[in-house]
Structures are given as C-alpha cells and as structure tokens.
C-alpha cells in the first residue's frame, strides 16, 4: 500500500465516522442539555430552601 492510498482510505473512513457521530451528538447532546438544566434547577432549589434535602447523585449521575 502506498502512502497516497493509505491517506485516501483514512480520510474517507474518518469523515464517514464523523458524519455518523455528528448526528448522534446533535440528538443525544440535546437530551444532555435538558438533563443539565433540570439538574441545575434542582440544585438551585435546594440551595434556596435549606430544609429541603439536596438530591444525592451517584457515580453515574442518577439521583
């Protein structure tokens, strides 16, 4: 295999994977944003109300 052929294959492969990943990040990233803002809202509520217990979050981000 020549260097030229190697870079041709590599470039096409990387671009194809990137295209698929971009779709995943767009869709699943939007879901993560909803979770982020919801979690921050909960934190803000807990800070504002000392009598309300702050939700405990485990190692995977679940309450």
């Amino acid at each position: 295999m020549t260097w030229m052929l190697f870079w041709k294959i590599m470039f096409v492969l990387v671009m194809a994977v990137f295209a698929v990943m971009s779709i995943l990040v767009t869709v699943l990233g939007a879901r993560d944003i909803r979770r982020l803002l919801s979690g921050l809202k909960d934190d803000a509520s807990a800070d504002a109300d000392p009598s309300r217990p702050r939700p405990e979050v485990d190692g995977d981000g679940r309450e």
Binding site: V14, M15, M21, I33, R35, L40
Partner: protein
Amino acid sequence: MAKAFSQTNFGVVDWVIVAIYLLISVAIGLWVKRYVSDMATYIGAGRRVGTWLGVATMTGTELGLVTVMYMAQKGFSGGFAAFHLALIAGAATLFVGLTGFIVAPLRRARVLTIPEYYEKRFSCRVRIVGGVLLAFAGILNMGLFLQVGSKFIVGITGLPIDGSALKWVMVTLLVLVLIYTTLGGMISVVLTDYVQYVVLSFGLIIATCMAVGKLGWEKIFTVVAEGMGDKGFNPVAEGSEFGPFYVGWMIIAAGLIGSAVWPTAVARALAAESEKSLRRQYMWSSVSFTVRFMLPMFWGICAYVFITSMTEAADLKSLFFPAGEGAEGVDELYALPVFMGRLLPGVVLGIIAAAMIAAFMSTHDSYLLCWSSVITQDIVVPLMGGEMSTRARVNLTRVVIVLIGGFILYWGLFYKGTQDIWDYMAVSGGIFFTGAFVVLVLGIYWKKASSTGAMFGLFAGFLMLFGLDPVQRISGLKFQDAATGEWIERLSSAQIGLLVVALAFALMIVGSLVFPDRDCEKGSHTNRGGTR
C-alpha cells in the same frame, strides 16, 4: 493584492447570518446566569455534563479558529504528510478514553483544576507554583489567538486587509466573548459549544464535499504528488519538514498532552457527571480530535491545489508563490480564508463563517475561564489561606477574565507577528505542559513522588525557552554557516522538547528520592467554601 483578496462571495445575507448567530450566543450567556450559584457551577457546570454534551463541548473548545488556521497552513505546506498529526491526536485521545490515563484519577479526586490536584497530592506550595506557571504560560500562549483568528475573518469576508478592519474585528469579538463568559461561566461555554458543534460539523462536511466537487478528488492527490513529491505524503521522507523526531515529539505534545494534560481539554473531564461518562466522552472525542486536525489540513491542501493549478486563481498564485529567487510570498495564513471566500456560495459561506467565528469565540471563552479560574482558585485563594467566600471567588474570576481579555487585545494589536508564531505557541505552551505532564504522571502513578521532586519537575519546563529562535541563536544552539550564511540548528525544537520532558522526569525522580515528603507536609486544605 487588495483586489485579489477582496474577491469573495461573502454578501449582505452572510453578514445577517453571522449577526444572528452572535446574538444567540450572547443571549445564551445572559439567560444561564440564573444557574450560577457557586464555583463548581461556574467553572464545572455543576459536574452535570453528560457524555454527548461533553463530546460537543470538548470538540467545540479544541476546534478553534487558530487550530484551523495553523492546520490549514500545515496542509498547505506539508500536504498529506501532515495527516500524521491528526492520527496521533485521535489515537492518543482514544488511548486516554480506554485507559483513563491521568484524567480518571483527576476526576476521582473531584478537583476543579490541575494545580488543585497538586495540593491534594503534594502541598499548597506546589499548587501555587504550578498555578503561577500555568497561568503565565497559558495567557502568553493565547496572546496571539485574537490576532490570528481575526485575520481569518478579514480574509473570508473580503474586508480591507490594509485598513483598520482587523482592529475592529478583534475588539468586537472580544467584547462579545467577555459578555457571555463573565456572566454564565462554564454553563454558557457548554451550551454555546453545543450550538457551534452542530452548525460546524454539518457545515464542515458540506464545505468539504463542495471543495472536492470543485477541484476533483483524484486531481487533489495528483497535484500534491506533482508539486511536493514523496514529501507530500510520507512524514518521514527525505527532506520532509517533519521527520522522526518531530513525529515522536508530537506523540507527546499533540497526542498525550493535548488530550490529558492541556487544561482546557481536562476541564471537560472535571465537569463530567461521572468517570464512566468521562471515558465514553474521550473515546468518542477521539474521532473529533482526529477531524479537527485532518479537515483543516485537507482544506489547506485544497487551497494549495486551487492556487497552484486553477486558472481562475492565477492572481493568487503570483502572490503566494512569486517568481524570482528570494521573492517572499504573502502570509500563508491567508490562503485558507481566501480560498473559502472564492469557493463557497453565499449563505453557505455565511453559515461556515458564523460557525468559524463561533469556534473562535468558544476557544476564547474556554481559555479565559480556565486561566482565570486558575488565578482565583490556585493562586489567590491559597495565598489567602483559603478564606474567600463563594461570591467573592466568582466575582474575582470575572474580573480576571476581563483583565486577561485586555491583555490579549493589547498583545494582538501591538505584537508584530512573524512566521515564527507557531514556534512561539509551542514554546509558551511547553513551559507549562512539559513539567505538568511529568508531575501528573509521577504524582498519580508513583507513590514516592514528593513535593520537592514536583517543584523540580515544574521548573524544568522553563528549559523550553531554548526552543525559541532568538534564544537558540544567543546560546549557540543555532549557528550561522560562514560559507553560505545559512542558519543551522544543532537541535531542533522537537528534539529540545523531548529532551526537556526526559530531563523533567529525571529531575523529579531524583528530587523525590533525595527529598522525600514528611507526613506533616502533605495536602494542606485551603479550598474551604465554594466547592462541592
């Protein structure tokens, strides 16, 4: 030259698209201010950044406009041989994701910055010294981002290259970045990075397809082969601008350090919601890290093919490759934006320009936040014995962001850049990252590493200054051949970089063994208040 550079498809519609995009970014910053309650939220987005959002923001930050410009320049001058840098970056990021090398232990330690880890592992003294070095090197490193990025915008929009347009572009963009960064902190950064990622990723793919359609897939490779020969494909070919030492140095610098030590990338790790999310984020980001180098390089290659082989670019060829021995061409940095301005139709050009401006801004906001939080958390607070309220910390960080912004504007306006700007960035960054890499690796994976050893390792980074051209000439590392007048280097920057890392390892190991820590010196806690 002005006439050649003003030929662009950038029109009124494109300006409108750019304006709308920038307003959305500022609006996000204003809107999320309500969520900022403490330093963990301001700097770490409350550690609630999920995997996919983490991928978007990590890529958004590291795919900066300056990266695009320099990688395009690498492609323009080095051809496909430059692709090896992209492979190295991707492979190293994947390795970090699979193994958790450096980043997983940092996340487990629940620190907000690298110097904070230094204190937990070693002592407050190491934290302060590490913080000073990091902030110094980091702020110097970004000193030319504003100027270089603005050149892209001037080039692509066809604004007058020899007027005051460059200055006004710099001022306008900096003000916008400062507004949403100071207000919203990391939350703003994450959200705007996501928007930027979506727009940029699809825009990049479309623009790449258009470039290939215009030039021809096979022709791109053929022209490079004819113009550069084997050097255009093989990074270790005879006479290549890269070579084996360069490749080895890039494995450390662009690979491991770029993904696991460079603070703005590591900041994503520290903001991840869990260690599992962090590793997934890195594994997926390995694709983005490959693309962020490879795509701009490909565009640089396309710019080379366009300029050297297309009849419609004959005016550009005479500017970039003037005939006559010793004739100096135009700054190669302008090749990419000028090419894009001629290639892409209106609307598409506006979307790409907006996304690239967003990339420019997202890099600035992340870097501003990173260095300012280091100054607050790792220098000022420890010096005050840890006694600083949450509100004061957040406000101080905001003030420092504005001050750093003022510095980079000043530096960008008055620093007279040369073709050695890339060397400048490598040296300034290396002052920090050579020592930090060693201190983190040994601190995490070697129990006998001591505070004194860490200090030796950190200070070894200053030896990177010998990679700078003027220092090399003064020190004799570079000398002038009496017969030809040519400057010959005894050691290349890459060789110096490798030597400095090796020396830092040696100094830290020796220092740790000769001066071990006493139990009472370890981990003084000065981080009371403001973190969780």
